[in-house]
């Protein structure tokens, strides 16, 4: 049976974020080097997906000028809508921005529990703003709900509590 991967990531509009670019490049690499796998990557139409420019990947058009909360909820909704019809035996891998984590959390209804993973880069709270702290708490909550976390560095892996399934892959350098 053909193995299928669905990968979800937010793609920033203003500047390149290493986390998005590496995520998209990783699945671009996997798709091009594993003909026995079907890889579907879904993101919004930000700067990183333009750099990789894989025409087989699905880009969701958003208005970059929309309100952040609206963009977050709308993108999560569109992720769910696009993934819902996919084969439930597929493996779903999300990056760790809120839209894809929210989508992964809700898609647990459809996908087998063991088939949903998220890739975690770091767990920093980068400033003292209440908004940043709340986003961090929500992110950690959603990572716990997704329950299968794949880490790119061992230090962050040790920091998260061991009630979740933790795996290590390192960070691919292209």
């Amino acid at each position: 049976m053909n193995k299928k991967i669905i990968a979800l990531t937010t793609d920033p509009y203003g500047n390149i974020h290493g986390y998005s670019l590496v995520f998209i490049r990783l699945f671009n690499f996997i798709q091009k080097n594993n003909p026995d796998l079907t890889v579907t990557l879904i993101s919004n139409d930000g700067v990183c997906s333009k750099i990789v420019n894989n025409k087989k990947f699905l880009k969701i058009k958003l208005n970059p000028k929309s309100n952040l909360l609206f963009k977050t909820i709308f993108l999560a909704f569109l992720f769910i809508k696009n993934v819902w019809h996919c084969d439930k035996g597929s493996v779903l891998i999300s990056n760790t921005e809120i839209p894809e984590l929210l989508a992964a959390f809700f898609l647990k209804i459809k996908f087998k529990h063991g088939n949903i993973y998220c890739i975690v880069h770091d767990n920093h709270v980068r400033d003292k703003l209440l908004k940043t702290k709340m986003i961090n708490k929500l992110r950690n909550f959603l990572i716990k709900r997704v329950n299968n976390a794949i880490f790119v560095n061992r230090y962050t892996m040790k920091q998260l509590d061991s009630s979740i399934n933790k795996f290590y892959i390192g960070n691919p350098i292209f």
């Binding site: 080097n33 594993n34 493996v91 088939n115 880069h121 560095n153 390192g170 691919p172």
Partner: protein
């Protein structure tokens, strides 16, 4: 004149203030910051830094191959991609001893006690005067290739999920 560089968003979290401080203290070197976009306000604020803006991958590699050292003053990192890119181009790297960076690159780069600017200045001066503090570039490059090449990482991922 030696050339010292960093690649990233020109923001405080990426260490631009510390980088600018180093540029002011170390007269034996020129300091370069690669970024995609730059506001005039940033350019005017950090006049000691030479900004190289909007280069493509090929142009950037060419410029970096001409550099002597990468100084990462970043305060928050998951893995710091520019460090790996510098290692692959056999450039020596100095960074603050952030736990994430140390767990990623182990002893293949030089570390400075977190946010100690005086130690950073001394560390850079040692490297550019060839008086020590310089890891084996070939060994570091092999470390990155063996641990973080796309082939290795993708195989690890596929092993986990299937």
């Amino acid at each position: 004149m030696k050339k010292i560089y960093f690649v990233g968003l020109p923001v405080k979290e990426k260490g631009i203030e510390d980088f600018s401080y180093l540029a002011g203290k170390i007269k034996e070197a020129k300091f370069y910051w690669f970024c995609l976009k730059l506001d005039n306000s940033i350019k005017n604020k950090y006049k000691k830094i030479n900004f190289l803006v909007g280069l493509n991958d090929r142009e950037m590699k060419k410029k970096i191959s001409d550099m002597d050292l990468m100084a990462c003053c970043s305060r928050f990192e998951g893995f710091c991609l520019p460090i790996a890119e510098a290692i692959l181009l056999k450039k020596p790297v100095i960074s603050y001893r952030l736990k994430e960076v140390e767990s990623t690159y182990l002893n293949n780069i030089e570390y400075i006690k977190c946010f100690s600017l005086n130690k950073y200045v001394r560390g850079i001066k040692k490297v550019i005067s060839n008086k020590g503090l310089c890891k084996d570039a070939k060994k570091a490059r092999m470390f990155v290739i063996n641990n973080y090449s796309p082939e290795v990482v993708s195989q690890r991922l596929l092993k986990i999920i299937f």
